[in-house]
Amino acid sequence: MKAHTAPVSPASLLTRRDPAWARDFEAILKAYEAAGGKVSALQSDRIASAVISANRVLWVNEIPGVHIEAEETPTGIRAHIRVDPGTRVEYPVHLCFGMIPQEGIQEIIPTFEIGEGAEVGFLAHCTFPNAINLQHIMGATVRIGPGATMRYTEAHFHGPYGGVQVLPTSHVILEEGGRFENEFNLTHGRVGRMEIRMEVDVAARGVAELTVKAYGMGEDYIRAEETIRLNGPEARGLTKTRVAVRDRAVGEVYTTTEGNAPGARGHMDCTEIVRGEAVARNTPIVIVRNDQARVTHEAAIGSVSRKELETLMARGLSEEEAVDIIIRGMLA
């Protein structure tokens, strides 16, 4: 296995001489842009970043207080991302994971360690523009120190064929007074098969907010399984799931919130819109082990609200246009 840290300076990013590297890099940057990523961010020496193509670490940029170590494995990479205690990272750390080939496996095993009182955002783009039979597996471990904040936004782009299996699992340990905000978006292109599994253990006064937004079509399958355990006094948790499915796609949302300590407060909010022959399921599970804890849930599943539809149609939009605006708004 090879280890990589900051292999080149940003200035030489576009002029590097290794032609194979340049080809790979150019291809992945195009895919990164297709997924909504900003290439300019990868060229800035003030923004920490990493670019991973299949099992190759093409680019790493560290900044003071943010350390990224990555090593290649036969099927992917193993990464260790550390943010020093007390560090306030001004710009989100940009991560790009992708594969250009139509087939293959990419297995990403990252460990995030956010030091006490640190504050950092991550903007990850996962892009598989040509996927026909491709598997993207992620097994993340996250530890957020006392009073630290981590915001992680992940956007996916899977191309038009729906040939991707995305299987991310994460376990987050949130220490006292810590904050974790996670947003997962898969709203452009086809989904393929996506199974997200996330577990968060929240200590006293910690706050966890998990958001999943996905739009499935054709034969896509979306499964989101999220668990928040509010283990410490006054811990708070929110899951927000927005899924739209059409054609014959399937959307399944399983959320669990446990209120295990006094003053713990949890809420699960799920909206799923169903069109055509698609199927949506939602299973919220509430577990309360302390008589001073409280967990609530709300779910709305079904067709687009008739009133919303007719309001937009009364402005001159066709029914299809109105449905599209409502779904895009929900997933925005």
């Binding site: 927005r242 919303e308 007719e310 309001t311 009364a314 402005r315 939009l317 066709s318 708004g329």
Partner: protein, 260 residues
């Protein structure tokens, strides 16, 4: 002058009751026409019927717009011909920004026109353009945005269902001013309300009771009739006529001729 809207003997059946029982109404181009009536008289049902909403298809009668029979047209087609509706309780839209929502109905959207529409309903564009039209807005804010969207659209016929209810900051005068401004720009306004003072903004008025239009005339005439003949029976007439228990009392008042 030819009428812009003609409603001829329109009947609408809802589950459990006939909510419109032979409505006749005409609205002229650029006219402000107030439709008065107590709660449950069928005003909102008529609004949904005119807009073509699901479940409000006439079982009898027809609706003509600019001479064309639009009775069977869907909502979108009616809107494309220039009809729109501001709902009494407007829908909320997650993720849709106010500026974009207002621009949706405009043929040639411009930021200047969207801002003008917001100012017309006393909302500061800088504060509202980017706000989502979702439950974070108060009821009054949402209603004002609905009025702004209709204003920006420049429709030929704007049906405003109780635009004065639930708005705390904008008073009746501001709303009537906006309506007169729309009419001056060529929009006919069918203003639905149970507040008879709103008739001051109108060119003509009609009164609904028990699912029919019982009187049409000058605003003063209809307003006086409404105050004298309907208000005293507000408690009874205000009940929903399609609920069986209230329905009997409602029918009794109507058939005794109190409102006819």
């Amino acid at each position: 002058m030819n009428p812009l809207l003609t409603v001829e003997n329109v009947h609408v059946q809802r589950p459990g009751a006939e909510v419109l029982r032979g409505v006749n109404l005409t609205v002229y181009p650029a006219e402000v026409h107030v439709l008065l009536g107590l709660n449950g008289s069928g005003k909102s049902s008529l609004a949904y019927t005119l807009m073509g909403c699901a479940g409000y298809r006439p079982t009898q009668g027809r609706i003509l717009f600019d001479g064309e029979d639009i009775t069977d047209l869907p909502v979108s087609e009616r809107a494309r011909r220039g009809i729109t509706l501001a709902w009494q309780e407007p829908a909320r839209f997650e993720g849709l920004r106010t500026g974009d929502y207002i621009a949706l109905g405009m043929k040639e959207p411009t930021l200047a026109r969207v801002e003008e529409a917001l100012r017309a309903v006393a909302l500061a564009p800088a504060a509202y353009l980017g706000r989502p039209v979702d439950p974070t807005l108060s009821g009054g804010e949402r209603k004002r945005i609905e009025l702004a969207a209709v204003y920006a659209m420049r429709p030929r016929l704007a049906i405003l269902d109780e635009p004065d209810s639930g708005i705390d900051v904008l008073g009746v005068e501001e709303i009537t001013g906006l309506i007169r401004q729309m009419a001056a720009g060529g929009t006919a306004v069918l203003l639905i309300t149970h507040r008879d003072e709103m008739a001051d903004a109108a060119d003509r008025a009609s009164l609904m009771c028990g699912g029919v239009v019982v009187k049409t005339g000058s605003p003063d005439e209809v307003r006086a009739y409404f105050a004298r003949r309907c208000r005293p029976h507000e408690e009874t007439l205000g009940a929903q006529p399609w609920e069986p228990v209230n329905g009997d009392a409602y029918k009794e008042v109507v058939t005794r001729g109190v409102c006819e």
